[in-house]
């Protein structure tokens, strides 16, 4: 299988070697040469300036951009190691932006190195980031070697007449004035080129603009698109463990994805109905739909689909359907409850005993994601049930990014339609919860039933 490395960094050399050891061939695509990506895991087509390249898996290696905070270069030109100076060295973390965790061991090692050479070292930070095995040890050793750790609330840097920096740091009660011979500042990290790359690869970005590490899995390198991985090569330079883990995750996950049994739940398209409006293409959080220009229809990729149903609910032409109908469970005629399987579904399973004990029954429909819930589904349900409840994830918890917010918008619209039609709007209820909040759902069900 071929792996496309997007972005060329020194880390690529290591990756090429490691992937080759796992019988995976690599090609490198410079990130500014990549124009468009279609296809799915096992069969990606990368449109580059040199024509089309094909790969089974894509790994983004383009690093985020690291730049020094704007404090002036004049302050940094004294070499802290060789310069025999009595003045202290200041290591400044979290200036302008909270420093990344991976920078801490680098800074700690440097602090330790300097302290052991009898230099006075101030380590200025907003919060400690020592909670890793090696970092913990480094931290202890640095303290032992006399590094002064200072937790600051505010810090100012001024240039003195001699062109040196003067650092003043304040915490809640006191201020510290240091005239260091050297000031070493942790760089701030910006998405840089990875932003445009994420858009090109249709990867979700987090609120800071970085490629979203798909939090559902919380494993390193996963993105919102199957078969596309992102290795933070900047971090990899500082953290060999991370790189090892990342490589293992790419090899392990892609092998599993490629050999997995058929995806059970995915969307299918009715070509006759498709208006080729690109709504699904824009809304799909997993880039599972690709335009088929020849036939002027959108094509869902079973291999890339997570079955979240967001496209199904968004499609204005009613052209998309999920392959698997999930039948309602429970025999209630009075309440139907749509449950996101990541929240409502698990919460209600924890309630079964209580509900049975109280003699309460509901008709329960599991949905992969709240994004699947639509106005017409809610209204259809009301023809048979007295009340309908939508139970979806909390804000910021949706595993498909915005399915819960879409569910909320759809519910609001359904309620307003009922209101306008002179029907009882309270028949539709909406609750946001996590799987760990069964009581909340319990109350909702009791109120709906009683």
């Amino acid at each position: 299988m071929t792996i496309a490395l997007v972005g060329s960094t020194p880390v690529n050399v290591i990756l090429e070697k490691e992937f080759a050891a796992a019988q995976m061939e690599t090609i490198t695509v410079k990130s500014n040469e990549l124009q468009r990506v279609s296809g799915h895991i096992g069969d990606f087509r990368l449109q580059t300036l040199d024509g089309e390249r094909r790969a089974g898996v894509i790994v983004v290696t383009e690093p985020p951009e690291a730049k020094l905070p704007g404090i002036g270069h004049a302050l940094l030109d004294s070499d802290p190691v060789s310069h025999p100076h009595t003045k202290p060295v200041v290591l400044l973390m979290d200036y302008e932006q909270e420093s990344r965790q991976f920078m801490t061991p680098v800074a700690l090692e440097l602090a330790l190195f300097l302290a052991r050479r009898r230099r006075t070292v101030f380590f200025l930070k907003r919060s400690v980031k020592t909670a890793g095995t090696d970092q913990e040890r480094l931290y202890q050793e640095a303290r032992g070697a006399g590094v002064v750790f200072v937790d600051y609330d505010q810090v100012q840097i001024a240039e003195t007449d001699q062109g040196f920096a003067h650092v003043s740091a304040q915490d809640e009660s006191q201020s510290l004035e240091i005239g260091p011979c050297s000031l070493i500042v942790a760089e701030t990290i910006h998405p840089g080129k990875t932003g445009a790359l994420a858009d090109c690869l249709k990867l979700r970005r987090d609120r800071w603009g970085f490629i979203d590490e798909y939090k559902h899995y919380l494993y390193p390198v996963m993105t919102s698109r199957r078969g596309v991985y992102a290795i933070d090569t900047l971090r990899a330079c500082c953290e060999p463990e991370y790189l090892e883990e990342a490589i293992a995750a790419v090899i392990g996950d892609s092998a599993e994805q490629l050999t997995a049994d058929a995806n059970l739940l995915y969307v299918e398209l009715d070509k006759e109905k498709c208006a080729f409006c690109y709504t699904c293409y824009r809304a799909c959080p997993h880039a599972a739909l690709t335009p088929n220009q020849a036939e002027a229809v959108m094509e869902p990729w079973e291999e890339a689909c997570f079955g979240c149903g967001i496209c199904v609910s968004m499609c204005p032409a009613n052209a998309l359907q999920l392959t698997l109908e999930k039948p309602a469970q429970g025999a209630s005629q009075s309440v139907q409850i749509f449950c996101c399987e990541n929240s409502g579904d698990t919460a209600i399973s924890r309630l079964q005993e209580d509900l049975a004990h109280e003699g309460l029954t509901v008709s329960q429909v599991s949905v992969t994601c709240g994004g699947e819930i639509t106005v017409e589904r809610l209204l259809q349900a009301l023809r048979q049930y007295e009340k309908v409840i939508a139970a979806v994830c909390m804000d910021d918890a949706c595993q498909h990014f915005d399915g819960n917010r879409r569910a909320c918008a759809q519910t609001e619209r359904a309620v307003s339609m009922l209101e306008a039609a002179g029907l009882e709007p309270g028949r539709i209820r909406f609750v946001q919860l996590s799987q760990g909040m069964p009581r909340l759902l319990h109350e909702e069900i009791r109120e709906a039933l009683l």
Binding site: A275, Y278, A283, E376, R383, A420, A421
Partner: protein, 218 residues
């Protein structure tokens, strides 16, 4: 694309008062794309109507377009079986269906808004008023007729501030857009020329219009 918006539900319901047998005709083209009158919207309305009155007979059809005879013909039989047709087409579709379906009232379910483009999922913006005499070559591809609230041809009025129109800070000043674009294209000299009063005969002000493509007509 023609952009439309669904009429308020209560207005649609009022126009349907007294009918027991309703055909909802969605339209598979522009109004599907602008999420106002596609099959999904028709199904929502159908569900709501039936909830209100379980005895009501409601059917949904979705011709690809309501503005061509061949597509409308496909639904003639359905229309014959219902008392009234609620069209979710644009104004043109409603009128074309009215001409094609005898003895049947065709009710509009949408308010037809403008010719525009998709800006984001669920957001459409007006881009063209169909004035019949395009000046976009002068203005860097930004239409002063449509995108300036006063249809100014010689630059912005004094109410433009921070690139926004005086009528609403949500509205971009059309002339700021024209300026930015021409500046980027290094074509600002185009703006020094006084633009003459526009000939509106090509617009709707000249009466209902038709387009004849001569070589296609025998």
């Amino acid at each position: 694309m023609i952009v439309a918006e669904q009429k308020p539900i209560d207005e649609i319901l009022r126009t349907l008062d007294g009918f027991k047998n309703v055909l909802i005709a969605a339209c598979g083209t522009c109004v599907t794309v602008c999420m106002a009158g596609g099959e999904k919207e028709a199904l929502k309305l159908a569900a709501l109507l039936q909830m209100r009155d379980a005895d009501m007979k409601v059917s949904v059809v979705t011709p690809k377009r309501q503005c061509d005879m061949e597509f409308v013909e496909e639904i003639l039989a359905d229309a014959a079986e219902h008392d009234v047709v609620l069209s979710l087409g644009c104004g043109a579709g409603v009128q074309f269906m009215s001409g094609a379906i005898d003895n049947k009232l065709i009710l509009p379910g949408l308010n037809t808004k403008f010719m525009g483009v998709t800006q984001d999922i669920g957001v459409w913006a007006e881009m063209c008023q169909g004035c019949g005499d395009c000046v976009l070559e002068q203005t860097g591809g930004v239409c002063p007729v449509t995108r300036c609230s006063k249809s100014n041809f010689n630059g912005p009025c004094g109410g433009s501030s921070d690139g926004k129109c005086e009528i609403d800070t949500e509205v971009d000043c059309g002339w700021q857009l024209i300026y930015d674009r021409l500046e980027a294209l290094d074509q600002l000299q185009r703006l020094y020329q006084i633009s003459e009063p526009k000939d509106w005969t090509t617009s709707r002000d000249g009466g209902p219009r038709k387009v004849h493509k001569k070589e296609m007509i025998l």
